[in-house]
């Protein structure tokens, strides 16, 4: 072995980054970035509020004194065709958000129980589509070849399919049964390709990165590569995609319920409330306004939160 240049002064200075700060727990960094934005605080606050309202719905209606299925004939004026008594659709200390025309059911109670349905369906559909999308997307991206061909063509087929028309047809043909469950299944069947497509693309680029090659060279198996090298680097993307898909499912569920093929009465749902408010928009606009506002703010909050989350994760160097 020939002699090497002598020890260089640089050697002693070469320290890399200072020791301060420790490891960049990337979750902590994302939270720190997110906390700075007021838009994030508002949307996160609203999401928390809706979630608490959904979980505590029975307790809250107990406090307000009116359940979602209770009729209150005294709150509506039968002589005027069932218009709620009092201004603003009957909003007052007994009925916080007013009452339904004709039946006199408490809107607050129906909003709270509707939130339960909305969140349950959208979160379940998100979890299911994320799971299917990640599994199939990783398979397609990592193995390529005919596995990729089969999965990709299936994704193309599902994404090109007129899914809304099919969902309406399918849900009206199926027996009533467990409607929320059916909705989750139908939404997931058409929803997973959007997650899978992104995961597939990212897996394809990740599997050709040098650290994957280095892992192979140190004797790692394929399973190990997928779970230890590829998937952890996808977590940011997966979290963002999942967060952004929640408002989509809330909207679709409301849309299907509006069209009468979603959640069946008397179970409360925001879309269904908006649908039944349509004939009353001139005489009792509050009946339309309240569920509309909740739907709008919920979808907006999830979208804003997801957008900011995506930005916070993307700028991170620990990706």
């Amino acid at each position: 072995m020939t002699t090497m240049p002598t020890q260089l002064a640089v050697e002693t200075e070469e320290k890399g980054s200072p020791f301060s700060g420790g490891g960049p727990s990337s979750a902590r960094r994302v939270i720190r970035t997110m906390r700075k934005s007021p838009a994030v605080l508002f949307s996160a606050g609203f999401i928390a509020l809706i979630t608490i309202m959904a979980i505590a719905a029975p307790l809250l209606t107990h406090l307000s004194g009116w359940g979602p299925y209770e009729y209150d004939p005294s709150a509506v004026n039968a002589d005027l065709g069932g218009i709620p008594n009092g201004p603003l659709g009957g909003i007052g200390p007994t009925h916080w958000f007013g009452v339904e025309p004709q039946s006199g059911r408490d809107i607050f109670a129906r909003i709270a129980f509707g939130a339960q349905v909305s969140l349950l369906i959208s979160v379940s559909a998100t979890l299911l589509t994320t799971f299917i999308g990640v599994v199939l997307g990783t398979l397609a991206g990592f193995y390529g070849g005919w596995v990729d061909q089969v999965i990709s063509r299936l994704m193309d087929f599902l994404m090109a399919f007129p899914s809304l028309i099919f969902m309406i047809a399918l849900l009206s043909a199926l027996p009533a049964g467990n409607r929320p469950f059916l909705l989750v299944v139908v939404l997931s069947v058409f929803g997973w390709p959007y997650m899978a497509r992104v995961v597939r693309g990212q897996t394809m680029s990740l599997k050709n990165r040098e650290f994957v090659e280095a892992a192979y060279a140190s004797g790692a198996s394929r399973v190990r590569i997928v779970f230890r090298e590829v998937l952890p680097n996808l977590t940011g993307t997966i979290i963002v995609m999942a967060t952004l898909s929640v408002p989509g499912y809330i909207g679709t569920e409301a849309g299907l319920s509006f069209l009468g093929v979603g959640v069946t009465p008397p179970t409360a749902s925001w879309g269904q409330m908006i649908a039944s408010a349509v004939p009353w928009y001139a005489t009792d606009p509050m009946y339309f306004f309240v569920p509309g506002l909740f739907l709008f703010l919920t979808v907006l909050s999830f979208t804003v939160f997801g957008d900011h989350l995506s930005k916070a994760i993307d700028t991170g160097e620990a990706r």
């Binding site: 072995m1 020939t2 090497m4 240049p5 260089l8 640089v10 050697e11 070469e14 320290k15 890399g16 980054s17 020791f19 420790g22 490891g23 960049p24 990165r209 040098e210 650290f211 090659e213 280095a214 892992a215 192979y216 060279a217 140190s218 004797g219 790692a220 198996s221 190990r224 230890r228 090298e229 952890p232 680097n233 160097e317 620990a318 990706r319």
Partner: protein, 290 residues
């Protein structure tokens, strides 16, 4: 890690013996040999330099030895590690050898480390892939490995992420990963190309020290003749997938036999030359790609 229990058996035979290695890519327009009929040996404690320009088949040779050829490429001929034929071994059998008996150091130390994990975890992962030990024991190995590649405060640095290290330190970490299982053979594929000259010198020195310490055989792939002259005892010059010249480093540098080697040597700019333009290596394509 106890060096006296090294796996290396000095039984006189060559550590790595490659005979008639040919790597072929099947393409729609017919087969292309990217490496053709290549032969060389690597002994323990010795470094073989493989020199050649881009596309000369250097990296494909190293990937063939590791059994990591990309899809569509097939290798034929014979590759014997410690007397055992490894060409045609099953993937599971090769996996046992990779990292354990032969390891690789890659060109770009940043992209070779997974940004998601601490360096300590990446060393322990590599170690635990071949040793059934507890996380705690593997951590001790990792700290020692970092110490061995001259990383200061290894017990602190072990919990840092790749981006918290400089380029030279990252390459030391890659070397630590490659050496943690005490491989008999290390393939370094342009390990200093992405580093600046001063850091390059430190890394070469470190690799030489570690080789003297562990007795590993090494294949050093580079296009930098100056580097080869420093580290290698023997040199193979490749062009267009074929070996144009092989011999001891002194022989190649003092009395090159082949025109291509002479052209390569002539292309090294010298400080005392009065040149208007740099000399180019002409078209010496002799291999299968026409």
């Amino acid at each position: 890690m106890n060096r006296t229990e090294s796996k290396a058996r000095d039984d006189g035979g060559a550590l790595l013996e490659v005979r008639g290695l040919t790597v072929t890519f099947g393409t729609p327009r017919g087969d292309v040999d990217v490496v053709r009929d290549l032969s060389f040996t690597v002994d323990r404690r010795q470094t073989l330099g493989i020199v050649g320009e881009s596309g000369s088949g250097k990296s494909m040779t190293s990937l063939a030895v590791m059994g990591l050829l990309p899809k569509g490429a097939t290798a034929s001929g014979s590759i014997r590690l410690d007397g055992v034929e490894i060409l045609g071994k099953s993937d599971a059998a090769l996996r046992k050898l990779r990292g354990n008996s032969m390891a690789m150091v890659f060109q770009d130390p940043l992209s070779s480390l997974n940004p998601y994990y601490t360096v300590g975890l990446q060393i322990t992962e590599a170690y635990r892939a071949h040793h059934n030990v507890s996380r705690k024991a593997a951590r001790a190995v990792a700290i020692e490995a970092l110490d061995r590649v001259r990383i200061k405060d290894p017990h602190l640095r072990i919990d840092h992420y790749p981006h918290q290290f400089s380029g030279g330190m990252r390459q030391r970490i890659m070397i630590a990963i490659a050496l943690c299982c005490e491989p008999d053979l290390v393939i370094a594929d342009e390990p200093t190309t992405a580093l600046d000259v001063t850091v390059q010198a430190q890394i070469l020195e470190l690799m030489a020290d570690l080789q003297a310490e562990t007795g590993t055989g090494m294949i050093f792939i580079t296009h930098d003749l100056a580097v080869v002259s420093q580290v290698a005892q023997d040199v193979v010059v490749m062009n267009g997938g074929v070996q144009v010249e092989a011999g001891s480093t002194e022989q190649i540098f003092s009395a090159p036999q082949h025109d291509y080697t002479r052209a390569l040597l002539a292309a090294i700019p010298r400080l005392d030359d009065d040149l208007e333009e740099l000399k180019m290596v002409g078209d010496f394509r002799t291999g299968a790609t026409r």
